[in-house]
């Protein structure tokens, strides 16, 4: 569904991405894995079309992203950023309804259909009870779930998530992982998840793309890619990769610096 071809990007003199190519098949959850500074967030912004690449291109269902209007892109791809900071006192419902923007005309107001969708996604993310609350007063985990609901309200085919669990505590991390898994199962949403948390990626993603210093180290099915050799190459850390029967997915246990 998403095809990234030979993308290269530099901030001024600093090259970030060199010749990155991979595909995101429809209905799959793909993890972009790599240490901080490897270019994951930049890559995500390029895929979402908010940053134009210096070279290469991104296609959504065969259509180049650069040929689409911002609204058209937003109807196909929704982004969940790492953190959402609201300058003004928006309520949870306000935030979610903003997700309907790409579907509305220039001066159109949200109608009952839009409100129904908002209710639906709040329900799906377990945040319906928070609807009248001020966004700024929520906990980190609650905020992330609301932002995911907002992204779902965009009714897009694909969801891009940038470090969705980075600032969350353990319980909230598990909640998000469970939520994304459930959403994928119920709606078949294609997802691209940027993360440096190996265990989270292993629990959620069926495919992984490993990125180090702006280059793809390895890509493929999680079971094939997540190996001690690759972990060492990616993080300079000697680790054990073991299938955990209780968690029902691969887990990575760091042992020592490589």
């Amino acid at each position: 569904m998403l095809r990234i071809s030979n993308v290269a990007f530099a901030y001024g003199d600093h090259p970030i991405l060199h010749d990155v190519s991979f595909a995101v098949p429809r209905g799959r959850i793909v993890g972009l894995l790599g240490p901080n500074g490897s270019g994951k967030t930049t890559l995500l912004r390029i895929i979402a079309g908010t940053l134009p690449p210096d070279r290469g291109h991104v296609e959504i269902d065969g259509v180049p992203v650069t040929s689409l209007s911002r609204r058209a892109i937003a109807r196909r791809i929704a982004v969940v950023p790492q953190e959402t900071h609201s300058t003004f006192d928006f309520t949870v419902e306000d935030i979610v309804l903003m997700g309907r923007y790409p579907h509305l005309g220039a001066f159109e107001l949200e109608g009952p259909d839009d409100r129904a969708i908002a209710r639906d996604v709040l329900q799906a993310t377990g945040t319906l009870a928070l609807a009248p609350r001020r966004f700024a007063t929520l906990s980190g985990g609650e905020k992330q779930r609301v932002v995911i609901a907002g992204a779902l309200a965009q009714a897009s085919d694909a969801l891009l998530l940038d470090e969705p669990t980075a600032s969350l505590d353990l319980g909230a991390q598990l909640d998000i992982a469970a939520l994304l898994t459930r959403l994928h199962r119920d709606r078949g949403t294609t997802m691209v998840v940027c993360t440096h948390d190996l265990n989270f990626a292993a629990s959620l993603c069926s495919e992984l793309v490993l990125i180090r210093q702006g280059r793809i180290l390895a890509q493929g099915a999680t079971a094939d890619v997540l190996t001690p050799a690759n972990v060492s190459a990616l993080y300079d850390v000697q680790a054990d990769v073991v299938f955990h029967p209780g968690a029902k997915h691969l887990t990575v246990v760091p042992i020592a610096r490589a």
Binding site: R45, A48, G49, T50, L51, S69, R70, R71, A72, I73, A74, R75, I77, A78, V79, P81, T84, H85, S86, T87, F88, D89, F90, T91, D94, I95, M98, G99, Y101, P102, L104, A106, F107, L109, Q154
Partner: protein, 326 residues
């Protein structure tokens, strides 16, 4: 409160304000057709002294309040104001240059000072716009803020320099102008101010939902389909035109741009589709009210209206800050 409630408030204030003043006038006589206008003192007080003043206050109040809303969203900073990016002080520099250096002229009933003042605001806008357009990926709010603060200081120094170099009487006249005055006294300056305000209004009409989204961050807005670069430019130009028109009409009047948006948000919530028009309406009513107090509280003397807006706005703003930090 709904938009129509704000509209009703403004209509009521507009109807009431010209009737009240330090002098008692007879409305019947003011509208009487039997007395020729040239002799009709009540009519002249109503139509020359008070009505342009009320209309001027409405335009300035609406212009500054709306600009405040837009700047706060554009800079993602609830403390931003029309003065933040230097457009207001650019207008002041233009006025001071006219008072000190330019020979007196007038075009169609508008004297040199408002014209030069508006030109000054356009100059400041050009600098800020150039600064922001230099980045191909849209404005960083930090860069804008920093640039605005520096430009404000720089222009402030230029202002002081011009005052210092001018002779004593010119300095006194510039100080007088900088106090702000809503005593417009005629209609041509109001009509002239309507042109940039109308252009700003067109921009404002396109912005509200985009402002909501932009206040979450430029990436978040772009991801939801907002053309961020275009929206930022429309916001910057509209709010600057609005500010420039207001300051060149009445001189710099503080606090409206900062206080009214927050007051209105307390009443209608954060949705800019409500906050922007409501702020314009409330700003207009607020300034008409402040001007009413300014010209009647110490009759026969008149206070500069900027004092009244500051005396009401200042304590309120402090209270707001305390409330937020608790």
């Amino acid at each position: 409160m709904t938009i129509s409630a704000f509209g009703a408030l403004l209509a009521a204030v507009c109807l009431l304000a010209p009737l009240v003043g330090s002098t008692h006038i007879s409305l019947a006589r003011a509208f009487s057709r039997s007395v020729p206008f040239a002799d009709n003192v009540d009519a002249q007080i109503f139509f020359i002294a008070r009505l342009p003043r009320v209309i001027g206050a409405a335009l300035v109040g609406a212009g500054l309040a709306a600009a405040g809303v837009v700047f706060q969203a554009l800079l993602r900073n609830p403390l931003a104001a029309p003065e933040t990016l230097g457009v207001s002080i650019g207008a002041s520099v233009g006025a001071v240059v006219a008072i000190t250096l330019l020979p007196a002229f007038s075009i169609g009933g508008i004297s040199a000072v408002p014209v030069a003042s508006f030109t000054g605001s356009l100059g400041a806008l050009a600098i800020v716009y150039g600064l922001s357009a230099a980045r191909r990926r849209g404005m960083s709010s930090t860069v804008l803020l920093l640039g605005g603060v520096v430009l404000t200081s720089f222009l402030g120094a230029i202002l002081t320099l011009i005052q210092y170099l001018s002779d004593f009487t010119q300095t006194f006249r510039t100080v007088r102008w900088l106090m702000g005055s809503l005593d417009v006294g005629s209609y041509p300056p109001i009509v002239a101010a309507l042109v940039p305000l109308a252009i700003a209004g067109v921009g404002y009409a396109m912005l509200p939902r985009a402002l909501d989204l932009m206040s979450l961050g430029p990436d978040a807005a772009a991801a939801r389909g907002v053309d961020v670069v275009r929206a930022e430019r429309v916001a910057l130009v509209s709010a600057s035109l609005s500010t420039g028109a207001a300051v060149s009409l009445a001189g710099p009047i503080g606090f409206i741009g900062i206080v009214v948006p927050h007051l209105v948000r307390l009443m209608v919530g954060a949705d800019h589709r409500l906050v922007l028009p409501a702020s314009a309406l409330f700003g207009a009513a607020f300034l008409i009210g402040c001007d009413l107090i300014a010209r009647t509280a110490f009759a026969p003397l008149e206070l500069p209206v900027g004092i009244v807006t500051a005396m009401i706005g200042g304590p309120f703003f402090l209270w707001l800050l305390f409330r937020r930090t608790r």
